[in-house]
Amino acid sequence: MSAGVGVDLENLWIRFGDFVAVRDANVHIKGGDFFSFLGPSGCGKTTILRAVSGFLDPSEGKVLIGGNNMIGIGPNKRPTALIFQNLALFPLMKVWENITFSMEIRGASSAERRKRADELLDMIALPDQGDKFPSELSGGQRQRVAIARALCAEPDVLLLDEPLSALDLKLRQHMRTELREIQKRVGITFIYITHDQGEALTMSDDIAVMRAGVIDQIGDGKAIYNDPATAFAASFVGENNVFRGKIKQVNGGEALISTNRSGDLVARISSANQGKLNVGDDAMMFIRPEALAIAPDGASGDHFVTANVTHEEFEGNSYNIFSEGEGGKEIKVSIPNLGQSFENHTGQSITLEYETKNAVVVPAGELAAE
């Protein structure tokens, strides 16, 4: 297959009455990419997907697939196939009939359909299961049948609406790699909707982080994780410790923040906010649990934090220390388990240190709900 067909959203607004579900979304999705929309439930990501697949018309703006405006074109005429959250396999049809439903619509003969179904069943590693009914398959098998059914329609763009959310953890992790492999094999554009940052980070070429109808940040996994554009993106993707304060000093790419609880701390300004932060602005500083380390007692400066340890836990691959943070939140430190012995600090005050490049400052904003 060629490079695939790109999808563009231009100034997309979707309103339901007074409620704005999607606010001025501008997204460029390259052909052949695995693109994820990541956000909490109710953030408008499914709405965007329905606008792309044609189940609802945007209030304003354009949806372009392969450069063609799709407004006014129904879902059955668009080169997209959608994998529904509950899969929506047809319960009264056998697996092979399910998979080749799109061919039946086009009037293909039964023999042709059978042949194509067998090919696709081989591809999804379910050979000889074509005569079963969907209810006779396991969750993961149904998942793969849904993918095969969508691929059978030979879409330019495959849309997936949280397809893994109903599976158990093991299967979910297995399906992640499988989905990614299928995408590479067929080479078409995948647009993936999820609230699971793990799924988004592991599978996607690019991710759009959404909050309440607004796209906060678009970038690859590393950029989203290491270089968040907003407080929401920083707190939603992965675990993060937050320090609130005001900008005291801006020094090139770094800023000194006078935090409410830990004095002045230095941090890197995230690339999306370079030059936008001014002295006196409310800001938030984020440090990942794994970027904090225990410092020698008595150390102090602009990259040290002192805190009272409330409890500790051993997680296997890491040792976690929780101490009192700000506004009821905890500061979490995660020390990788490399075979060293762990001291018990509960009830004590410890000093933590970090490297400036691992602390990032963004304008103060809404945090993701836990």
Partner: protein
């Protein structure tokens, strides 16, 4: 101990309950095979199938059945279609409007059928006149009016049945079909309709039964197409015959047969589904009869019933109850005659007694006993007769003898027997 009583009383209750439910049907079925001209189960006279014959020779009943079937099929088509449309509408509209809509749609069930019948008649008559059509137009056709009239409320029943199924339908299925390139019509035909099929079948059966048994709406609209219920009602006015029992028996049989067949079918499907779940993929078409019977009392009963029916029909063609009926007729005639004789004798005796009393009062009149002897045979037990005998001697021995045997050996009676035998 207490438990035992409880269990027994439950069985007694069940027995009473089923007797209450099925007793009338059993008795009515029995009357269909008894020979008397008025449907009754006792006294049992002769096993006969003539009422089935009479039924199938009754032009009006046959015509009524035919009209009922026509009306039924029309009503099924119209009601299921309207019911499905109504049910789909119900799932599409907003929750606010839904309760109002539901009430409106359900209202026809609550309106008396008589009112529906009259209003159908009046409404379509108006329409007919507005369009300037004559009395013989399509809109005043009895078949059309009956189907329309019955459908007004049967469609509501259908909708209730269909809504129950439709609520379990995942609208995403339709979206999935659309997404895979199907048009709305294709999605409806290939996804929604197959899903609704069981409910459509139920609604169809329900509509047909409701239509078949309807009287109070139909009575206003039937025009020149009297349905079975109308014909039956008209017949009952002139007295019923066991032919109607025979018809009822056939209907009961068909119903039971249909129910059992349906039950067996459901069981069979369940078994297939179970077998499939266990991993084996049995060929659905290759289900053999022994398998169909295995562990399925309903199916066994069904087969027994079928055999029973065949036997009954077989004997019906071979067996002739004519002799039995003749015998019974004879016995009855004799009984009737005897009764008449007894009655007459009694009347005579009364008269004689009266006269005797008069005679005793008069004491001088001799001619009194004579007429009583001539005319009567039954005054044997009258005390006055005895006294007459003493007085008059053997003047009238014959009649008194006759009276003692209830006139069985009356030469006239024998003569009549000859006549009836020679007939």
């Amino acid at each position: 101990m207490n438990n035992k009583i409880l269990r027994i009383s439950i069985w007694v209750y069940l027995g009473l309950f089923f007797a209450y439910l099925l007793g009338p049907l059993v008795i009515m079925s029995a009357t269909a095979f008894n020979s008397p001209g008025f449907p009754r189960a006792t006294p049992w006279e002769c096993l006969t199938f003539e009422w089935f014959g009479a039924l199938f020779q009754d032009e009006r009943i046959l015509n009524g059945i035919w009209n009922s079937v026509l009306v039924g099929l029309g009503t099924v088509t119209l009601s299921v279609a309207m019911g499905l449309a109504g049910a789909l509408m119900l799932t599409q509209i907003s929750a606010k409007v839904r309760s109002v809509y539901y009430t409106i749609i359900i209202a026809p069930i609550l309106i008396p059928g008589v009112v529906l019948g009259i209003s159908t008649l009046v409404f379509w008559d108006r329409i007919n006149r507005m369009l300037g059509l004559g009395a013989d137009s399509f809109l005043s056709n009895g078949l059309f009016l009956t189907i329309i009239g019955q459908s007004t409320f049967i469609a509501s029943y259908c909708m209730l049945v269909l809504v129950a199924r439709l609520q379990r339908y995942d609208m995403v299925q339709t979206e999935a079909a659309l997404d895979l390139g199907a048009s709305h019509a294709q999605a409806f035909r290939k996804i929604l309709l197959p899903f609704m099929r069981p409910a459509i079948a139920s609604a169809g059966v329900l509509a047909f039964l409701a239509s078949f048994e309807n009287y109070n709406t139909t009575t206003f609209t039937f025009g020149e197409y009297p349905t079975l219920t109308i014909e039956l009602a008209q017949k009952v006015r002139y007295g019923i015959t066991p032919a109607i029992s025979a018809l009822a028996f056939i209907i009961v049989l068909l119903t039971v047969f249909g129910a059992l067949a349906n039950e067996a079918n459901i069981k069979r499907k369940e078994r297939i589904a179970e077998a499939r779940k266990e991993g084996a993929l049995p060929d659905v078409k290759g289900i053999s009869l022994p398998g169909f019977l295995r562990g399925n009392p309903a199916a066994v009963l069904l087969v027994l019933l079928a055999i029973g029916t065949i036997t009954v029909v077989g004997t019906a063609t071979a067996y002739s109850p004519a002799q039995c009926i003749a015998d019974v007729k004879e016995t009855k005639r004799l009984e009737a005659e005897q009764r008449i004789q007894e009655l007459r004798a009694k009347r005579e005796a009364d008269r004689a007694k009266q006269k005797a009393e008069q005679g005793e009062e008069a004491e001088t009149q001799q001619s009194t006993p004579k007429p009583s002897n001539n005319s009567g045979f039954g005054n044997v037990f009258a005390p006055t007769t005895l006294s007459d005998d003493e007085e008059e001697g053997a003047e009238a021995p014959e009649p008194s003898n006759n009276s003692g045997f209830g006139n069985v050996f009356d030469p006239d009676a024998l003569q009549e027997d000859d006549q009836s035998n020679s007939e």
